[in-house]
């Protein structure tokens, strides 16, 4: 499987280094979960991979494109912790935003509709996002990313605020997409049991370093 993301000798942070990664590769079709204490640099790592934050040093390569060059339009689908929705727009407008950002411009409406249905938001399609509950807003953000058909999904605690049933439904939709499209996914998750369940690999960040010993969910004892 080709690597969608390649990180080498990466130093992540603003002015001082928060997190160091010697080498990390995420292959096509793989889901990688990252966990660790708050403030250790998990979100900064996602922002660095997405190109929003410049690395202090090291290599970030996404879909064959090296930082600081940006990968092709629509390659990265980012679900930030605070969702990044256009609050005054409708669910449809938000999901269409993802659909328009896709690498292929064909069938953008169809992709948006399918994503809305997959997230169970058909009845809220024309509702303003600000009127939705926290969980519904989260599903809109996920629908936006699915409509985008990205090669890499970066999700920051994307299942929080969701009840168990919805969480399972959403997880299924996202994992199905990853396996069917051959995309890769990096998710930051505090709930280790949940992260273990969803991901193919779980990384624990400890003292500003990716723990090299606990990288396989099969050997992880929580």
């Amino acid at each position: 499987m080709p690597a969608v993301v390649r990180l080498e000798n990466l130093e992540v942070g603003f002015r001082s280094t928060l997190l160091s990664i010697e080498k990390l590769e995420i292959s096509s079709g793989e889901i990688l979960a990252i966990t660790g204490p708050s403030g250790i640099g998990k979100t900064s790592l996602l922002r660095t991979i997405s190109g929003l934050l410049r690395p202090i040093s090291g290599l970030v390569q996404v879909d064959g494109v090296r930082s600081p060059e940006r990968p092709r339009r629509g390659t990265i689908g980012y679900i930030p912790q605070k969702l990044g929705l256009v609050r005054h727009s409708s669910v449809w407008a938000n999901v269409m935003l993802g659909s328009r950002a896709a690498r292929s411009s064909s069938d953008s409406k169809e992709r948006a509709i399918n994503s809305i249905i997959a997230m169970g938001l058909e009845e809220k399609k024309y509702e303003s996002v600000k009127r939705l509950s926290g969980g519904q807003q989260r599903r809109v953000a996920i629908a936006r990313t699915l409509a985008q058909r990205p090669k890499l999904i970066l999700a920051d605690e994307f299942l929080s605020e969701l009840d168990e049933k919805t969480s399972m439904k959403v997880t299924k939709a996202v994992t199905n997409y990853v396996s069917a499209s051959g995309a890769a996914m990096i998710l930051v998750e505090h709930d280790i049991a949940r992260a273990k369940e969803i991901s193919d690999r779980l990384l624990i960040i400890d003292d500003g370093r990716l723990n090299p010993f606990i990288t396989d969910t099969s050997i992880l004892e929580v």
Binding site: R47, I76, P80, K82, A141, L154
Partner: protein, 289 residues
């Protein structure tokens, strides 16, 4: 019941103040605005002859003609100003564009704002001649400067999360502006535009003094004929019109604030304080909170 009493008392005080104020103004302007025979300041001009029916005779008065022209100038200036200021406001926002774009754009916005609309009016009267065209141009330029600044400040103050998500997706700056920034900042942009219209009506009354159209032209004319009572009467009319526009503007703007759904805007809210829906009931005892 106690709440009703308080509301009624406040309404009564407001109405009394308005009546006393109006009566004082009527006395000060020697009956030129209004006497027991009607609205004197709205009497039609002797020439050209007024051919509308008696009920609409006031539309032939210079006060009416001047005020309507001022409002028309303000509408056009706000429209053209908004058309030009929105792209400049977006280009001036540092959270959207790099410094080599924002600096020149901000310089244009600042240049438009550096001169007051009255000076712009003098410039355009020299360029295009006397009349409302000069007024529209002058106020459009000033609107670009003033509105552009308000716009880029509110865009820079908007939540960065939608911008980051859109940037990560790889959307272009134009797409981000169109689909993220404008919808997200729409409430502010509309409220600022309404405020600018209100501002333009106020400043539009002044630019007529230098020959750029509107009611200011007539004020200047009567000043030259030493008809100070009539000038005072026209100033009062301006005050009343601006007051009404101000109130309508506050009412309209109240629809475009984020909590407008929680507290529905109302006309009474312009005069009376909002009803207390939460918190403990008011106490007459100042020691008791």
């Amino acid at each position: 019941m106690a709440g009703m009493d308080r509301e009624f008392k406040e309404l009564l005080i407001s109405v009394t103040i308005v009546i006393i104020g109006f009566w004082t103004i009527v006395q000060l302007t020697s009956g030129l605005i209004w006497d027991w025979n009607g609205w004197k300041a709205l009497e039609p001009q002797s020439y050209p002859p007024c051919e509308v029916n008696n009920f609409l005779q006031f539309t032939c008065s210079t006060a009416w003609i001047g005020m309507i022209e001022t409002i028309k100038i303000a509408i056009l200036a706000t429209f053209f100003g908004m058309l030009l200021s929105l792209p400049l406001g977006l280009l001036s926002s540092r959270n959207l564009f790099p410094n080599y774009i924002t600096y020149p754009s901000r310089a244009i916005v600042s240049a438009c704002r550096s001169l007051p609309s009255l000076i712009w009016a003098i410039v355009f009267v020299i360029i295009v001649g006397l009349g409302p065209t000069a007024g529209v141009l002058a106020m459009s330029i000033y609107t670009v400067g003033y509105l552009g600044k308000m716009q880029y400040e509110s865009i820079e103050g908007m939540n960065s999360d939608p911008l980051e998500a859109a940037n990560a997706m790889g959307l272009t700056k134009a797409e981000i502006s169109l689909w993220v920034v404008i919808p997200e900042a729409a409430n502010h942009l509309i409220a600022q535009m309404i405020f600018m219209f209100e501002y333009n009506v106020r400043s539009g009354t002044v630019i007529g003094i230098v020959g750029a159209g509107g009611i200011g032209y007539y004020i200047n004319l009567y000043l030259k004929f030493l008809e100070y009572e009539r000038v005072a009467a026209y100033l009062v009319i301006i005050f009343l019109v601006v007051l009404i526009i101000d109130m309508v503007s506050i009412y309209l703007r109240s629809f475009f604030v984020d909590d407008s759904e929680k507290t529905k805007p109302s006309w009474s809210g312009l005069i009376l304080p909002p009803k207390e829906t939460v918190g403990p009931p008011r106490s007459n005892n100042p020691r008791q909170f």
